[in-house]
Symmetry: C2
Subunit: 125 residues, 2 copies
DNA sequence: ACCGTACTACGACGATCATCGTATGATGAG
DNA sequence: CTCATCATACGATGATCGTCGTAGTACGGT
């Protein structure tokens, strides 16, 4: 059985957590992990990067203590360490998740508005 | 009169804000700015980096929308854009600030405990 | 035993970042 | 006007990061 090492709850570093959450790909992973609490294999995330890059991002998230990874056969169950994070940094994770949702929504509105506002022949390039 | 450009409140990007806050030097600036609401010149921060590096950090904070900078004679008044940030990303700034305080406190406790636990002749080197 | 699947390890690459020293611009004081 | 002060601009440098492809490991199914 393969086991993976995780930082202890008390070893979580704000530096590492913020750095982990500052990447959009990783934030997208975290967002999707927050939507449904049960674990997900790395496969179920359709990320816009190569497989090895995805592995890298999952590792950064795990080593910073944001997610937990456990083997289930050949695949890995990923889950958010929401409790541990909220214990050490209360409100931080939920604030980031909320901000992420807010920004996505705003961007979608903005894109739509921009499209509607674009003159018929306009090509910004 | 020199003026400095700031991103509009609606132009704040979560990516940029989190990246700005993921650096310890910048987080230390933000923390001290949050303690006392009135503006401070860059000088009053005794940062462990060279002057040009400090300028760089202030710029990152300004361009990401975390702080506001305004000239007052030759010096610059720095202030936190707490309102704008809280409008776009509610609770994010305060969560980061609280986390920063919590971690600093925990680290101080930890260091003290480590020192007390160090054997009399121990020299880690 | 064999093969396919799920993920990792490793090395490489270009990009970005934090850092610095020095030179420069702007402002207020003498 | 001249000078000191505050901050910036401009390279330069070493470190880290995100990305990738390829090769490898572990596990389950046939």
């Amino acid at each position: 059985m393969r086991t993976i090492s995780h930082p202890d709850r008390s070893a979580l570093r704000l530096d590492a957590v913020l750095a982990a959450l500052s990447d959009p790909v990783r934030r997208s992973i975290v967002s999707r992990l927050a939507e449904r609490a049960d674990g997900h294999s790395c496969q179920t995330f359709e990320l816009p990067v190569a497989k090895s890059t995805a592995t890298h991002h999952f590792r950064v998230l795990r080593e910073s203590g944001v997610i937990r990874q456990e083997y289930h056969g050949t695949s890995i169950m990923n889950s958010l360490r929401a409790g541990d994070l909220d214990d050490r940094f209360p409100g931080l994770l939920s604030a980031v998740l909320a901000a992420q949702r807010a920004e996505s929504a705003a961007d979608r509105r903005c894109d739509g508005a921009a499209e509607r506002a674009t003159p018929p022949s306009a090509d910004p390039a």
